[in-house]
């Protein structure tokens, strides 16, 4: 057991996988000598050398393209994109190839890539460093989209992603990178991709979230309990594709009410999919409309005003009260 930040926990997962399998490679801008701009790849160049921890030129599409080709030759590349805001430079490689090769060749060629990237807002960064594009990726069939919420599940999910035979978009919430530590077991641990967890059991309403918004939502749940006597169940989805519809519906069937919380814009966001799944499977259990507490359908403001954009516990509380009092 060690008390680790998410950055350290991710670093541990990478080092473990690289030790266990010589085919695991890490590549991206500044991942070597500099050890990653968030230091997630700390020590990897030193331990595994420049053929396994590879600094690349500044070209996101080439990083993924290289990853695809390396995958064809038997490697398991973990590609780092420096920020989610620059993942779009490589979007065509993701859409045209990463997600398609298995289907295109009926399994003859596959893309067992992990595409890691810092995700979301909340670190007072400049433009393009605060986006939350999970819906953009979740909509692309053939991709798995994972978003851990804390050090321990980050480590276990990254391990799962590396061993997954299919491409995984791995979003690392920047706001969680160093914001707290968690006990992480010494032995490698794995979590199944596509399964969420109950982060806080409750009876009155289901709050559904993931990533950095988990802490915000848990805080809101405390406030709901203390201030209003409302016992909220909080679900941490951990993955938005596949989406754990079973977990979501089981909970909503018990509580009859749900609020979705995510930092991405609302329109066509993952929240909509969650609502649709609830309606499809559990409409008759619903006692109130499902509210969405999300980023606004605008460009996320520069950091002086970033916190206005991001959901905070107060917004979650307000929406939940409206839902409960409906």
């Amino acid at each position: 057991m060690a008390l680790l930040t998410m950055v350290k926990a991710l670093n541990l997962a990478l080092a473990e996988a690289m030790r266990a399998d010589p085919n695991v490679l890490v590549l991206g801008q500044d991942v070597g000598q500099d050890e990653g701009v968030f230091r997630v790849t700390e020590g990897l160049l030193q331990e595994f050398g420049p053929n396994r921890c590879i600094d690349t030129p500044l070209a996101e599409a080439a990083i993924l393209g290289a990853g695809i080709g390396l995958g064809f030759t038997g490697f398991r590349p973990v590609c780092e994109l420096q920020f989610d805001g620059f993942s779009f430079q490589a979007f065509h490689q993701t859409e045209n190839h990463v997600r398609r090769f298995r289907s295109r060749t009926r399994g003859r060629y596959t893309c067992p890539l992990v595409i890691r990237m810092p995700y979301g807002g909340g670190i007072r960064a400049i433009e393009h460093h605060s986006e939350a594009p999970e819906a953009t990726y979740a909509h692309l069939a053939g991709l798995k989209v994972v978003i851990p919420s804390g050090p321990r599940n980050a480590r276990a999910l990254l391990r799962a992603a590396i061993y997954d035979p299919d491409p995984v978009i791995f979003f690392e919430p920047k706001a969680v990178y160093r914001s707290f530590r968690e006990e992480v077991p010494d032995e490698p641990e794995t979590l199944p991709i596509g399964k969420g967890v109950v982060a806080r059991p409750g009876r009155d309403v289901t709050l559904i979230t993931y990533g950095a918004m988990l802490r915000v939502t848990l805080e809101a749940a405390e406030e709901l309990k203390d201030g209003h006597g409302i016992d909220a169940e909080v679900l941490d989805l951990l993955s938005v594709a596949p989406l754990d519809g079973e977990l979501i519906n089981a909970s909503v069937r018990r509580t009859g009410r749900a609020v979705v919380v995510h930092e991405a814009p609302r329109h066509c966001g993952v929240g909509a999919e969650i609502v649709a799944r609830i309606v499809e499977d559990s409409l008759v259990y619903l006692e109130a409309p499902v509210k969405r507490v999300t980023g606004y359908d605008a460009i996320i403001p520069y950091f002086q005003n970033e916190l206005t954009y991001l959901p905070d516990p107060a917004r979650v509380v307000r929406a939940t009260l409206e839902t409960v009092r409906f």
Partner: protein, 368 residues
């Protein structure tokens, strides 16, 4: 010396072996065993005949939109010939002759253009990629494969193709730049067929040649007469040998010409003159190579007849196999991931129920 020319340190050359009117440069003539010369001719002719047949099938409504390779056979065939079997071959969609040489069955090519994923079935044992549609995107994974070859050791190389139009895309640039930085065993072959649909080569880039783009990446550039099979073989051998022995990437510009339309959906009369096509016809690689073999006494009427008959037989068998291809309506839902997700299982059930409910059953796929 406050103002001076910048020197360029990489090699930039142009190469041809057999001129259009049959003049052979013996010093540059690549060593190719006679049996191989005959097989190469047969493959080139087979590609031409298959191409013609696909056009006909398309016109008869028995195939989808088709993109012909007519006139460009030498460029991909010469490249394929210069490779080992376990080298990697990354085509775009005008490498029919090269793919046949590599061992792709004719009917697989037909299946691709006939709208079947089975058209991507890479023959076992080959390190080949299927056809790539998004222009220049294949340069990137070609580069990645070359990188894998280098990291694995063992001297494998990767040849990737692209069109002249494709050189305008960012992917082309990024891939070659990486190949230079990591000194990858990548041979990037640009089939400059002078057109990207309706855009002439001169409007795609102001560079006088495609080969000179190598300078941007500090790698060697070689312009070769892409309709001269011998020159393509010589150039590729050189680049492949260099790549195999750690000498890094080469950009080869194979100068050729698209004698046919862009695809069957295209009407080249809208944008190019017949005169231009007629000008290129004498440089058609097929009669040029045929004349070379005739001079060498490797072809006579008898042999040619045998070859034609063999090709016709293969072609008929391929068409039959193509038209017998069945469609598994639910297969596409079973290859999204290695393991289907619960949602995909549910969608598969949904689709199966839907198909079962449909009476009368959907007729077999309308290939014919």
């Amino acid at each position: 010396m406050p103002r001076e020319p910048l020197p360029i340190s990489t090699r930039l050359e142009t190469l041809s072996v057999l001129t259009a009117d049959g003049q052979l440069d013996r010093a540059l003539e690549p060593a190719v065993p006679h049996a191989d010369l005959r097989r190469l001719y047969k493959t080139m002719l087979a590609a031409r005949r298959l191409d013609e047949r696909c056009l006909m099938l398309q016109r008869q409504g028995r195939m989808g939109t088709y993109g012909p390779s007519k006139g460009q056979e030498a460029a991909s065939l010469g490249v394929a010939y210069a490779l080992e079997r376990d080298d990697w071959f990354v085509p775009t969609f005008r490498e029919l002759a090269g793919l046949l040489w590599r061992g792709w069955p004719m009917h697989t090519w037909m299946l691709y253009w006939g709208g079947h994923e089975a058209g991507n079935a890479v023959p076992p044992g080959l390190n080949d990629l299927p056809i790539c549609v998004p222009i220049a995107s294949q340069c990137q994974y070609g580069m990645g494969i070359a990188w894998g070859c280098k990291l694995r050791g063992g001297g494998r190389v990767c040849v990737a193709f692209c069109g002249d139009g494709g050189t305008s895309e960012g992917d082309f640039h990024e891939a070659l730049n990486f190949a230079g930085v990591y000194n990858l065993p990548l041979v990037m072959v640009v089939q400059n067929n002078h057109w990207a649909i309706s855009i002439p080569r001169s409007c795609q880039t102001r560079a006088a040649t495609i080969a000179q783009k190598a300078v941007a990446y500090g790698i060697d550039g070689l312009q070769v007469d892409g309709n001269d099979l011998l020159a393509v073989i010589a150039a590729t051998r050189e680049a492949v040998d260099k790549a195999r022995t750690g000498g890094g990437p080469t950009l080869i510009e194979a100068v050729t010409y698209r004698l046919s339309m862009h695809t069957t959906a295209d009407d080249p009369k809208k944008y190019r003159t017949d005169a231009e096509v007629r000008e290129w016809e004498p440089r058609d690689p097929l009669p040029r190579f045929r004349a070379y073999l005739q001079k060498k006494k490797l072809l006579d009427a008898k042999i040619e007849q045998v070859i034609e008959e063999e090709i016709t037989a293969e072609l008929e068998a391929a068409v039959r196999q193509y038209e017998q291809q069945t469609v598994d309506a639910t297969e596409f839902l079973r290859h999204v991931f290695a393991e289907p997700t619960p949602e995909l299982r549910a969608q598969l059930a949904e689709l199966e129920a839907h198909l079962a409910a449909r009476r009368p059953a959907r007729p077999p796929a309308p290939v014919s």
